[in-house]
Every structure is written in structure tokens, then in C-alpha cells.
Symmetry: C2
Subunit: 192 residues, 2 copies
DNA sequence: GCTAAAAGCTAACATCATTAGCTTGAGTGT
DNA sequence: ACACTCAAGCTAATGATGTTAGCTTTTAGC
């Protein structure tokens, strides 16, 4: 398998795209700019990536995988409210550190269960499941609890990422408050 | 003030853009397509709207105002868990009915307090504040509670809008579960 | 060394947003 | 009634974009 004049690779291109998106914003990420960044002309990118849409989806999948990894290590050795707080803080930190990649995950529709995005998203659930194991959740309530956790965290992270909080109150305090809210709600879960 | 060969207006253009975005998706909304929709050539749109970015922001502001209105009427005559559920359900319905407009509100950064987006967003808070009045929230906790509510609802609505829930469990049930979770958390709010 | 295939290139095209400048038509003041 | 104004809409042009087609080059394996 010949590998000419390279240093370039699908993974490398996607990684560079994610990095560039973090720097200049996801909306400003363009094939031409990415090509220049990796030292290549725009059409050459198509040897590694099917197009802009494919690139975006791969960046999103990368971000989701990284989030899953980050959250997984964040909750290791913790449980209950402690794990909840650690996971939440890790996600927030990730979004602040990688706003471009994370923005790529917004507004995506998985084409099917085989879509890398769907797979990455499914893996991203695992840490949340681990957190919930510290609470009294019956198995039949697990899917609802997972979706709820995901909604809460995703909602706060995106609002924060887009700078949608306009008042002066400290965002960290609000985040702690939100975590406490969820923790209270989870601990008060009734067994129906 | 002469008003020639018309039927066109800034508000009309924005409304048509929002409608078109709902039909074909926000990402597919283009100046050319919108021009064709309103029966005009693309450059003519610039007589009513400063450009694509301006158009997007105006659509977002429209959506935020509509959301505020919808939520406001949804909670009238209700309070507590009842108001919470009604507001949540109204938002969800809105996002499902108007996915394009709502997508326009994601990933926007208000340029300042005078930005129509900031104003519309501020008005959108009011219904949430009304809901929270039915719970025991101290004034200094209000901002945190508002942000939390916004995060929760926005998170679930966007995940749902982008079809990010892949498992088979009924989404409506999950939504009810989430509302209960928040309700329990709010009722258990401690007085610090 | 020779060959095959992948990587990268140039050229070209369609589409898009946007600007500049012209044309036209409706309302206003006399 | 009539001319004047000025904004709505147009055509033409520009630069940037994503993308495709086809050519050239480089490297790995025989």
C-alpha cells in the first residue's frame, strides 16, 4: 500500500479541523481554511474526507468520543452526588476548552444506528449510567433518567458555550446550583 | 414616503425566512432560496435586511419572542408543578412545530444588551420566573434557578429536535419524568 | 528497477453572499 | 393635473465557497 508525499490522514485531517474550529469558531471552519492549515490545497482534502458535511460529522463524533472519555475518567472512584458534580464539571470544562468541536455536535441528525455519531453518542451515555448507579433508580426508569441527565448537561453546556447567559450572577455558582437541583431530584425519586 | 411595487417588508421577509427554515431546515436557508420564495431576486432582499447574518439573527429574535408568548399563555392560571409541566410541554411543542426557527437561536452570541436577540431572550425568561414563583426560591437564588430551568428545557428540546434519542423508550414519558425530577428538586430546595 | 495505487495538484464549474449602479413606480406638494 | 422624489426592485459583476474531473508525482512491494 503506497503512501506518498504525506503526513496526512483522515484522522489527522479531522483532528486539525477540530483544532481549527476551536480556534476560529465552528461556523468559520471552511474546507479552504482547513486545507491551508494542513499545508495542502483544498481539493486534496477530498482524498481523506467525503466533503464538508462528512468532515463536520467526523469532528462531532470525535468530540462526543472525547467527552465520553473525559467524563469516564472524571467519575472514577466517585459515586452519587460526588460523581454527578465531577461529571458535570468535566463536561463544562471540556465545552469551554473546545467550543468549536462541541458546536459541531449541535444540530446533527444521525442517519442511522451505524452512523459514527450515533455510536459515539451511545458511548457517551456510559458515564451517566455509572453516575445513576449511585442513586435509587429502578431499571425501567433508567432510560428516562439517562435522557434527563443528558438533557440537563447538554442544555447548560450549550447555553454556556454560546454565551447565552447575560446576567451578572456567577455561572459557576449557577452550575453548582443546577447540580444540587438534579441531585435532590434524583435522591427523592419515588419507587412506583 | 413612496412605497413602490411592494408586498415586501422587513417583517415579511423575516417571517418568510422563518417559515422556509421550518420547511427545509435552518442550514438550508439561503438568501437565494428566500428571494425565490418571496418572489424577488436575491439582491432585493438587502433593501430589507442587512445580510444573511442579520436575517438569521432576526429569525432567532422572532423565535424567542414567539417562545416567550407561547410559554406565557401556557402557564396562565397554573402554578407549581402544573405550570412547570405546561410550560415544558408548550416549549417542546413549539420546537417540534418550528424546528428551523428554533435552530436559528442556537449558536448565537448577542452583540450587546441592545441586541434584539438579547431583548427577546430576556422576555423569554419571564414565564420561567412566573413558574418559579410557585416554589420556595429565595430572591438571591432566582438567577440560578432561572438558568437551571432554561438549561433543562433547552437541553431536552434541542436533543429532541435533532433526533438524538435513539432508544425505543417513549420520549413523552421521558419528558414527564424529567419534569417530575425538576419539580422534586425545586420543592426540596433548602433555605440556606 | 518497474509498476500500481494513493496523494496531491491544477483547472473548471456551480452556487452563494454581497456591492454598485440603474430603472421604475408610487406617493407628495404644488 | 403634473412633476419630483426616493425607496423597491432589477441587472451586472465580484470574490469566495464547495465540489468534480483529470493529470502528475511519489512511494511501497515485487
Amino acid at each position: 500500500m503506497p503512501v506518498p508525499r504525506a503526513g496526512l490522514d483522515a484522522a489527522t485531517v479531522v483532528a486539525a479541523g477540530a483544532e481549527l474550529a476551536d480556534e476560529i469558531g465552528f461556523a468559520e471552519l471552511t474546507m479552504a481554511r482547513l486545507a491551508e492549515r494542513v499545508g495542502v490545497k483544498a481539493p486534496s482534502l477530498y482524498k481523506h474526507v467525503a466533503g464538508q458535511d462528512d468532515l463536520n460529522r467526523r469532528i462531532a463524533a470525535l468530540a462526543l468520543a472525547e467527552v465520553a472519555d473525559t467524563l469516564g475518567t472524571a467519575i472514577q472512584g466517585r459515586s452519587g452526588r460526588d460523581a454527578l458534580g465531577a461529571a458535570a464539571r468535566a463536561l463544562r470544562r471540556y465545552v469551554l476548552d473546545h467550543p468549536g468541536r462541541y458546536a459541531a455536535t449541535a444540530g446533527l441528525t444521525a442517519t442511522g444506528p451505524e452512523d459514527p455519531i450515533a455510536i459515539a453518542a451511545a458511548q457517551g451515555i456510559a458515564p451517566f449510567a455509572a453516575v445513576l448507579r449511585g442513586y435509587d433508580i429502578t431499571p425501567d426508569q433508567m432510560p428516562h433518567a439517562l435522557r434527563s441527565l443528558r438533557s440537563v448537561f447538554h442544555g447548560f453546556a450549550t447555553l454556556q458555550a454560546t454565551d447565552s447567559f447575560q446576567w451578572s450572577a456567577d455561572v459557576d455558582d449557577s452550575f453548582d446550583w443546577l447540580i444540587d437541583l438534579v441531585d435532590r431530584g434524583l435522591r427523592a425519586t419515588p419507587a412506583p
